[in-house]
Symmetry: C3
Subunit: 346 residues, 3 copies
Amino acid sequence: MRKTLKEIAQLIQGEVIGDGSIVITGVSGIKEALAGDITFLANAKYAPLLATTAASAIIISKDTELPKACAVIRTENPSLAFARVISLIAPAEIKHYKGIHPSVVLGKDVKLGKDVAIGPYVVIGDNAQVGDKTVIYPGCFIGQDTKIGASALIYSNVSVRERVSIGNNVIIHSGTVIGSDGFGFIEVSGKHHKIPQVGTVEIGDDVEIGANVTIDRARFDKTVIGRGTKIDNLVQIAHNVVIGQDCLIVAQVGISGSTVIGNNVILAGQAGLVGHITVGDNAIVTAQSGVSKSIPAGAIMSGYPARPFQENQKAHAYVHNLPKLFDTVKELKKKIEELEAKLEGK
Amino acid sequence: MRKTLKEIAQLIQGEVIGDGSIVITGVSGIKEALAGDITFLANAKYAPLLATTAASAIIISKDTELPKACAVIRTENPSLAFARVISLIAPAEIKHYKGIHPSVVLGKDVKLGKDVAIGPYVVIGDNAQVGDKTVIYPGCFIGQDTKIGASALIYSNVSVRERVSIGNNVIIHSGTVIGSDGFGFIEVSGKHHKIPQVGTVEIGDDVEIGANVTIDRARFDKTVIGRGTKIDNLVQIAHNVVIGQDCLIVAQVGISGSTVIGNNVILAGQAGLVGHITVGDNAIVTAQSGVSKSIPAGAIMSGYPARPFQENQKAHAYVHNLPKLFDTVKELKKKIEELEAKLEGK
Amino acid sequence: MRKTLKEIAQLIQGEVIGDGSIVITGVSGIKEALAGDITFLANAKYAPLLATTAASAIIISKDTELPKACAVIRTENPSLAFARVISLIAPAEIKHYKGIHPSVVLGKDVKLGKDVAIGPYVVIGDNAQVGDKTVIYPGCFIGQDTKIGASALIYSNVSVRERVSIGNNVIIHSGTVIGSDGFGFIEVSGKHHKIPQVGTVEIGDDVEIGANVTIDRARFDKTVIGRGTKIDNLVQIAHNVVIGQDCLIVAQVGISGSTVIGNNVILAGQAGLVGHITVGDNAIVTAQSGVSKSIPAGAIMSGYPARPFQENQKAHAYVHNLPKLFDTVKELKKKIEELEAKLEGK
């Protein structure tokens, strides 16, 4: 994106205060913004950041006090306006594939929508469907009866097994595997017998899935990733997991089988969750935590085994003060011995 | 699977007690079973679960008391009978590839068994062998001199490097890499020089390997996965690791170089093991544990650094009670001061 | 490699002491060496290992005392000589691809150097460049405008996105993804909007990257892997991370966005680093540690949250001694009660 502030203001029907000729080259959150970025302020609690942000311009509401540091666009609804600005930014430097490469192997009765683009050496199984404007990069495998929505973007060497359902506007990065068998075995006389995993995976609209992620199919029924949820690289999602909407699942997280996660949940990097638990809406699990029990809505959990963040912090503080405690107890012991000696001596 | 209980009983030569006309649609462990499932009871210690299982039918021995909740098949050996039932269940909805796709690139002197099926864009190196009835999905790479047994199933985009040996009935899920170089370097004057990794990997019969797993080849000699061991997604197995038979290695576990693991070992999710240690038969390592020393047979290890489960639980309990201890010590200090004052006062 | 000790001595212009006719088949560090290996001693502190190494031969300096256990090559500079020996060892058993397979799909204006080898079903985007003698295995995807240096080795099913820069002598193992989008979103009214990730990745000369690694492209600017750094399998490197030279990043490590790592740093297996911190030169992070703050040069950090190794060890020792402390406090309490009773009784 290279647009003047004035051009952006016109697109979102806002009012420029400051230099409308400055060139905006990116979007960012108010904390992370750099020179050239436009950002926004929607929540009054972040107002102090107006004084320190490095952004070149900021979208604010009509009743927010003007910052001194940067130019401004005033508008009724900064959140909505900013969302529009983001959607205007075409990642211009990526030229995706166009058309269906002659090497693409299509099974029987595959249905391709309008303006679908499929790169070389993609293989699509019988009865699969691909929606309008979806782009599939080279080397992908799409199994039989799998449905991919419209305007999806699937990067190279992705594997999607049979009967999986993927929504609209989904982005899947390279090397990711969707619909592999769940890890299900029954031990009979010391040997592990495979339990057939005949369910599937359902991925909602607007989901983004990182590189080399694994999402297993359900035993029966389906593993679900809810609309708008974003998944980082190398995440493991086991069979029958159900994840709600608008969650953030950071890199290398592992979620065990049949665990159910609410909406707007954040699981930070390398966290692990056991199976068969529930995580309430808006809960946060901090990095590397190990969650062994269900978590109520809104809770912030930390440590291993995970407990409320404050409690975990306190426990760390207590452990940190152990050397002093050992010293104190040693002193008390000595004093008691002195007292005993005194009493004896009398 | 859709079979009546009566049909199943005939196949395993058992006796139905209850409604033989009910339709069984799946198999499961007694704890996890759902309506429609058949399960089994072989170990008397699980007998209480007979009263609570949600299974529609259960295979029991002739001397087990009849449960009230569900129909029953009585047989001499429930374990053996149940193993047969599992093998009867064809995962009917997966139609694998048939025949050799014309795009498959075969090196010199490749030997393919009977009824081998290889999907589009698979590349197989010189002198490689593929056993009867093995199925290889699109986009796989099989290196030179690699041998794959009979009735193996290799999903899309798997990479198996040169001179690897894979047994019969092995399942490998998409994106997995077998035979990549071990992580071996020698530091000379601050620079890391690569140690050639010229060994290989040997994978026993009946092994299942999840998606996006990495199993490195040995420096010399071989990295070994024993017969019947099951490996979940995103597991890392370093060079020269030797894993015994019938182990369960859960998702995101990492095993460092040259570590030797016995039979029937369970490594739970995200556990990590240092190199050059041994883990005895039937040992269990709980989730996220960090194992820094060898583990005796049958031990259950937990925490970081991993120690016996009970001990680790106690340590957690002690830490949990630290606030009380700090308070107690504070009180004792006060009392001692009072005692001192009293004695002084005299 | 199969060379006599005498042949090796000639190549590095050293003097054989002992049996020059023994056959050397590998190189190794002095600790890990096995029969058939040649190793070296450059640092006097490892001199005691001369007595115990299983190596068949060792390269030492002219003033080092001769070991009894094995043959020797004496030379001015053992480190330099040994580095030359390593480079002499051709991993003879791997026959890489030769020539450009007719199935390779080349975009417009792709520039291939001399003696480039590209296996079947590789796809290379417009304007990409591949340097002399580089080998690319089957099923790889190389995006538009990406530059790969000379003598690089890229194994099967690797995905390198657009505009990435890869140096000379780089090795990338199978399934690895380079240049996937960073995990960057802005929350607007409860929904996560994608921040375009229009930066790139720059990988220096002599870097080795394991299997199924993920290295995200920068938001703007670039994610950097410095010359000579070695990365193990399943490592996650987030957007805008900068890693210095000659680092070792062990399997399953995760490094969050914008973190800057110095030279010669070691991050052991499964360690996790938060974003926006710096790690000084020569620092070491032990396995499974969670680093939440910047680390000074040379520090050894351990635990969660990571702190200096010694301190962390002490904390573990204190926790280990907690049962005794609880007992001691119980005893002291009893004694105080006795003292109180005595004083009361008077």
